[in-house]
Symmetry: C2
Amino acid sequence: MVVQKVASHMPTDIPDIVIGRLPIYLRALTQLLNAGRTVTSSRELGEYLGISSAQIRKDLSHFGGFGKQGTGYDVAVLRDKLQQILHVDRQWPMAIVGAGDLGRALAHYRGFESRGFRVAAVFDNDERKVGQSLADTELVIEPMRRFKEVVQANGIEIAMLAVPAEHAQSVTDQLVDACIRAILNYAPINIIVPSNVYVQYIDPVIELQHMTFYLGHQPK
Amino acid sequence: MVVQKVASHMPTDIPDIVIGRLPIYLRALTQLLNAGRTVTSSRELGEYLGISSAQIRKDLSHFGGFGKQGTGYDVAVLRDKLQQILHVDRQWPMAIVGAGDLGRALAHYRGFESRGFRVAAVFDNDERKVGQSLADTELVIEPMRRFKEVVQANGIEIAMLAVPAEHAQSVTDQLVDACIRAILNYAPINIIVPSNVYVQYIDPVIELQHMTFYLGHQPK
DNA sequence: TAGATTGTTAATCGATTAACAATC
DNA sequence: TAGATTGTTAATCGATTAACAATC
């Protein structure tokens, strides 16, 4: 999806749709690397991802020439370059807001660390949840009144929003007030933010409905 | 988002990018309806979603004229039309494959029913999990060897894939073998399917990396 | 009626692809 | 060298927007 613009203010002249493909390339390269591959080509990568080789070369050319004629790309080199371009050659501390089933699942997810992120804090306003620690983590659920303080103390700029839809906007306002700059919104609702805050949406139903259009009329 | 094509075989001549926006419109209309609104306009909807009014009118015009000059759109009527177009004027039974934290969070998610979906079965291959029932649901975790049978008995055509990346492809092959036609893949890996199977991806890290590109270089 | 807003056409804008010289 | 593949240019394709007649 990739449906709503990331933000109204784009600090580069590289098309946002190109930026959106870079993480896909990075993920594929990591897979190739794990499979022991050392070189690849735009043709191979394209066939694997269902993207034309020309598009991959064009996308990468916005950032420089990373390949070698006749040979292709060094997988490790290209992965490192993409990590730098996407600024995930470091670990970004993140806040999870909402400690329901989804927030907890995200807190336990082991796939962030290797890809540039780390869950630094979890918040919820339910007093029964505050103070609970999350199994297999160092995390303790904090109350929202401590949000700003904890965010500042940990240099957090990214929040994952996992609260019920009816609270999403008011909680978003708190995130913005605490100078959060990027929000991954799991609530199935549009949120309104200042133009210097980036928002991406994850709503499984949106993706499911996209597919049911094509599935057509006769479910068994 | 919306980065990989939904499928190589498109059964209509309406652009897939248009189809991808319809669920967003539907979600916004439901919100408006919940807020008690009875009419809206392409201008209002567009401002709310950050989309031009012309685009909304153009998108809808692929399916007919649902508005009234001078007045706009009846919210309930347009919502019903979009539900029909997207084939969510019914409930699609779905299988969840993988009963880890994420699979369980999905099984407990209360947001499917009102939007055209229902979790009909949950599967896992871990014998310690098989037979467990999921709190507040009618669901009992089934072993994968029963997948085909349960899928057929329940008329399931959609699966949500929530297994570790290293098992995603082999499990996908099992889904395809059981005639699953649409897969929502939560594993952070590209999966390969026949061209008549639709796949959508949800990978939070992809969305996060899209945003860190813009966040730039100095995390505090 | 006057004001508002649709549905649609044509113009613009931008993204993708094809092709190929350069070169490893 | 011959074969392969890059990076880039120009052509094509497709999506978005502007504009407006129709009309509620």
